[in-house]
Amino acid sequence: MRLSPGARERLTIFWMLFPTFLVIVGFYIYPTLYNLELSFTDITLLKLRKGGDWVGLANYWEFLRSSSFFDIALNTVFWLTAVSVTCRMILGLLFALLLNASFLKRMKLSTLARLILLVPWATPPVVAVIAWRWMFDPTHGAINSWLLSTGLISDPIAFVSNLSTVWPAINTIIVWNTTPLVAISLLAALQTVPQELNEAASIDGATKFQEFRFITLPYLIPTLSVLTLMSVIWTFNNFVYVWLATGAGPGTFTNVLATEVYLKAFVDLRIGYSAAIGVTMAVVMALFGALYFRLFGVGDMQEKVG
């Protein structure tokens, strides 16, 4: 069969994109829709073959009215997402500004700094949690032995099982593991700030803070806004840090939406109910994303990302 050049070209495009199409439909779109369907049923792991019965919105009502809903929502939105993203952005910005300081650059410390940033960045989350649980350990941990030796505390603190320290401990792990990416991205953005502008401002008598506020910061805003959006979505849905650090405990004290999805599906075996929590999470993030785009400008962002 002979094909015209145009038809052959279309066939080539088709074959090139077909595997990707399969991946997107098979592993993203179809499971998402299937999950939506599951969320309207009472399917459990025990009656997997039979399938569940249609229960309408019952799973959603049960979740939204459950006694733990408020705690889980607060944990996820405030303790997990807001605190860790804020700390990550501020610390990442401080690191980037520090490493961009001309004095440290002249001392040839920036290459060393990049290598240092690499260590937490290349550490898998599982190992990051293990490393910090080792640091926090009451009997062997470096932090307790340091605090004890300086006399700041008289008894070791079990950071991960103590209610008042468990969230700061989890956030320390997340910030340690994820700040390098933020710092490196901001460092790259800092290098686009024209040096003449800063020099001109300092000749005109601007203070260091004014230079940062009125010259440097505007150059960083696009990078910062994309990084913040990515971090929020990524952290809100994150399962691994809380699960490995505390297993949502002590009790259910650090339970978040992602761990609740897992617990309901694989411990309580209630897949349908768990699916409804997952859909709720997706809806919340979609609304957040839409609001964010509206606040920070859609066209701007598309230009940045596309």
Partner: protein
């Protein structure tokens, strides 16, 4: 600022605080890794004594005699296969997206961008059920399929970035000479964007290497477990065998560090130009 500066007190304070800041930065980022590395060579008693002291390789011997090697092999098999598959799929897709204008192109590109934000926690339930019905639980094939799907969107995204820097005239000349698109990709495009391919593959491999959630849901058979699962089961019991955990952590992290090291600059450039162009 190139003019020689006098060391005024305020300048000294500024430089001093920069150095202090640098030290704090280094201590915060390095100390956990340092203590894990140190701990992996120590005799750590399970009693309340801090440490029995002395250097030893016992932790490593213990970890490997208790079957850690099979987790390493499983991780390598799953991650290497998924990376090769993901990169191959992504190379063709990225080429198609960067070279052709067609209806639905922005839709495809948009869903690839969306894929990066996609919360896998939501996909765990449906994929578990589908895999359970299809007999893909406790199977490396199931995990490989998931990981391939997991890394493909970002790999496409990175490669599109590299491909737009390759002039189209290069492939058009070859097409005029009668080469097919596939030949062009294999013989012209691939050698040119090879550094980008390597960076994308490294990144994809690392994503798979540290993935925990899907492995946790899909693998329960000990002989099929990957490193993150295997490593964490030392934690599961009432008492933590710290020595074994530390040694296992070092084994899990060294490959990622060694992979990252030579590619560090390239990866940073690729990622940042990807994230914020």
């Amino acid at each position: 600022m190139s003019i020689q500066q006098r060391l005024t007190p305020s300048l000294l304070i500024e430089r001093g605080s920069l150095l202090v800041g640098f030290v704090l930065f280094a201590v915060f980022l390095l100390s956990p890794a340092y203590f894990v590395f140190k701990g992996s060579f120590e005799n750590i008693s399970v009693s309340l004594v801090a440490s029995d002291g002395g250097w030893t390789l016992d932790n490593y011997l213990k970890v490997f005699s208790s079957g850690y090697l099979k987790y390493v092999v499983n991780s390598l098999v799953v991650c290497v296969t998924a990376t090769v598959l993901g990169c191959t799929i992504a190379l063709f897709a990225a080429y198609g997206l960067s070279r052709f204008r067609f209806r639905g192109r922005s839709l495809v590109f948009g869903s690839i961008l969306g894929g990066q934000f996609f919360p896998w926690i939501i996909l765990v339930n449906p994929i578990f059920i589908l895999f359970a019905r299809g007999g893909l639980i406790n199977s490396h094939i199931g995990l490989i399929l998931c990981y391939t799907a997991f890394i493909t969107p970002f790999t496409i995204y990175l490669l599109v970035g590299y491909l737009t820097t390759v002039p189209r005239s290069l492939d058009e000349a070859a097409i005029v000479d009668g080469a097919s698109r596939f030949t062009v990709i294999r013989l012209i495009i691939l050698p040119v964007i090879w550094p980008g391919m390597v960076a994308a593959a490294t990144f994809g491999f690392l994503q798979c290497w540290s993935e925990y959630l899907l492995a946790l849901a899909l693998i329960t058979d000990d002989s099929m477990k990957t490193i993150p699962l295997g490593l964490y089961q030392y934690f599961g019991d009432v008492q933590i065998d710290w020595g074994a955990v530390m040694a296992g952590s070092v084994v899990a992290t060294l490959p990622t560090l060694l992979l990252f090291l030579p590619l560090q600059k390239k990866l940073v450039a690729g990622l940042t130009s990807g994230a914020v162009k």
